[in-house]
Symmetry: C2
Subunit: 302 residues, 2 copies
Amino acid sequence: MSLPDIHRVQSFFLSLQDSICHAIENIDQKATFQQDNWQREAGGGGRTRMLTQGAIFEQAGVNFSHVYGDALPASATAHRPELSGRRFQAMGVSLVIHPLNPYIPTSHANVRFFIAEKEGEDPVWWFGGGFDLTPYYGFEEDVIHWHKVAKSVCDPFSQDYYARYKKWCDDYFYLKHRNEPRGVGGLFFDDLNTPDFDHCFEFVQHVGQGYLDAYLPIVEKRKSIPWGERERQFQLYRRGRYVEFNLVWDRGTLFGLQSGGRTESILMSMPPLVRFAYDYRPEPNTPEAKLYTDFLIHKEWV
Amino acid sequence: MSLPDIHRVQSFFLSLQDSICHAIENIDQKATFQQDNWQREAGGGGRTRMLTQGAIFEQAGVNFSHVYGDALPASATAHRPELSGRRFQAMGVSLVIHPLNPYIPTSHANVRFFIAEKEGEDPVWWFGGGFDLTPYYGFEEDVIHWHKVAKSVCDPFSQDYYARYKKWCDDYFYLKHRNEPRGVGGLFFDDLNTPDFDHCFEFVQHVGQGYLDAYLPIVEKRKSIPWGERERQFQLYRRGRYVEFNLVWDRGTLFGLQSGGRTESILMSMPPLVRFAYDYRPEPNTPEAKLYTDFLIHKEWV
């Protein structure tokens, strides 16, 4: 049984943030990330990086945070009341990329580590994370590629990870008030602490690195498709769903906002420009309608 | 003790929706309201009216709804568990007006009536409602006018209504994750059922009618102020706060979305176009900074 090594986790998370930012800047060629180091009064802090008004990326936020405290609030452990009051650390990298070209999907990825300690007892720890894709105009080959990478990340670790984490992702990123998936999914997992730390940490590293393998080829493939006002308006409208999901349903966002997290870092996931329109429905048989009928559905892509 | 007369309430709410829509169209002169009648599977329905792309109003939503059921869900009565399972009716008019000119504030008003009945027992009923103002560029005289009307609506009914409902409004429309009021307030009340039905209903009628007396003069006064890209960008940014409040904190919105309400009618409060910007702060001593320092503060305006 390998013991958790939080320094190795931190070092990986920081270098993951670096490598993702470099890759994004490298594609964008115009804008660069601005960095904010911030501290949290109750303990810890973070390193928020934002790129705005790029040539390819209208906005990209890549956030590292490491917060800790002497006593875990009960509200943070609704399903694990026995951890309440323990010394804890929570650490993660979270990112949301909003491209300018509506033919490039929005993407989100997250890896996180949590540990709660108590004198004289074994530490309780787990990993969580995943990545998911939100297209405006769907391309079946892109979604298949995305899920193939997701599966190839999972398979070396367990034959059932992909199926389980793909379903978990579908279930999690779902707008219940619209009976509509947020996008075409990917991976989502939480509470991962078996069989041991080394296995879990290795897997999380593959998830973090796999995100770029999954996303960058799609960006490259779609970044030069011409687009106009029609595509832009649909993109702005669909971004409203991202706002709705993150503010109404996303547990991480809500917990952060309601528990005194750093608002500006939490809300870096908000799209830079968003349109809301009452009772909008795309014309049947248009590419916009196809998003709903062919992509925002339950489907096994690989 | 006067008995509740739900037919009179319904008739007033419907005519209030009419008169507000007529007044808005009358000022706008370009756009008119489109109406959607909708039914709710579990009982009841509504009449949603939306005006979009007007000359003065970028979007105006005025919604009437009347929903009922055989058994009030426990989740609807967290603070009144004794009502769970009763036959109930909930009825109201709710509106949000998003003007185009950033010098005109956004406004919101709501009046609502609730009744829960049970064989052999007295019905339990109450009114709620209010109106509140959200400026982008503040004018002290407008805010004073708004609150003067609010006070003049209250004073004939009780000398302490204005102070109580003004404070309730300040407390309710507050973005806790930013330590920031949503706007400059107005009135907010709930659970109003004393001294009797006639008194309460009379008051609610004055609140509903008072909204136009409070808002229209401000629209008239500010609608011709020239504005440009700078004001527009600030307005779009500040509209993000409206989105944040409604989706993260507004109990009515959240309850509606999480309990199978009609999503499109609930989200008619969303601004038509919204901008989010990481860690934006206005330059000191600008009109934009003045909104924060002189208006989004705790203050007794009258």
